[in-house]
């Protein structure tokens, strides 16, 4: 399905994501990596003192959409697949892979690349490539 090309909104939204990451670095000295923040609150428990701050950050993330609805009077545009077994599989892969690879789009893709981390550049190129192949197979080979 077609989506509208939104260069300005996307650039602006990206800027907000960047501002959030800089704020977190300036105040807590931490990388805004969502998979890291999520995995630290999950069992098995780790000896990490950043846990309460991670939870507060997640509360902020969760409040964004409700606040958006209050401000704009409508929900943000979103189309989620109704193929539930596929989404269940995708979730497992995203969760397992991001913890194994020490990061996801935010930690490697934004924060790591800005620090010119070789590991993050390799990670980003890797997940962009396999993501591209996954969509290619899903849409053009198996015709999902």
């Amino acid at each position: 399905m077609q989506t509208e090309f939104t260069p300005f909104l996307s650039l602006l939204g990206g800027g907000l994501i960047g501002a959030s990451a800089v704020l977190l670095m300036a105040t807590h000295g931490r990388i805004a990596g969502i998979s890291g923040i999520l995995s630290r609150i999950l069992p098995p428990a780790s000896k990490d003192q950043s846990l309460p701050q991670g939870l507060i950050f997640l509360v902020g993330l969760l409040l964004a959409a409700p606040l958006w609805i209050v401000m704009n009077g409508q929900a943000p545009l979103q189309t989620v697949s109704t193929n539930l077994p596929l989404l269940a599989l995708a979730g497992v892969l995203v969760g397992f892979g991001s913890v194994l690879g020490n990061g996801c789009t935010s930690g490697h893709g934004v924060c790591g690349i800005s620090r010119l981390s070789g590991r993050s550049i390799v990670a980003t190129l890797t997940f962009m490539s396999t993501g591209f192949v996954a969509v290619l197979l899903l849409r053009h080979v198996f015709g999902g």
Partner: protein, 141 residues
């Protein structure tokens, strides 16, 4: 104050994801669909974010320490191991199949689409499983 700043950064991050279209799986999948309904918007999200973080990180890490912490927690590893490559490869497959990565999935959770609820549940399970296996492996060595 400290907690308020953290809450605001979470909100900013979520708003950025919503505004940019990253929280819409169809848009993410279209970015990855070069041979179909390609939507290059996501490149602008990354560009916009990096345009802020690159100078921003450089500027703030020149200070001796962060405002509310004693040190900057910056990753120091520079090696490329199988874990990094395999993990990122697996992550990318899931990202393509579902159109969600962790931040947008959490942000979209309150919109309560059935697919999002399932995705977040299995994502957290996958994370815990990965963490458990890595812990076990680390303890053995």
């Amino acid at each position: 104050m400290k907690n308020l700043v953290t809450l605001v950064s979470g909100l900013l991050f979520g708003f950025g994801l919503l505004l940019s279209g990253m929280a819409n799986p169809a848009k993410v999948q279209n970015f990855l669909d070069l041979f179909g309904t390609w939507d290059p918007s996501l490149a602008f999200v990354m560009g916009g974010a990096i345009a802020v973080t690159m100078p921003g990180f450089w500027l703030v890490t020149r200070r001796s320490k962060p405002l509310f912490n004693t040190v900057f927690h910056l990753p120091t590893r520079t090696d490329f191991d199988m874990r990094l490559i395999a993990g990122s490869a697996i992550f990318g497959i899931g990202w393509g199949l579902g159109g969600f990565c962790p931040g947008p999935a959490v942000t979209a959770l309150p919109l309560a689409a059935e697919g999002t609820l399932i995705f977040v549940a299995t994502m957290l399970t996958g994370m815990a499983a990965s963490k458990y296996l890595l812990n076990r492996q680390d303890n053995r060595v």
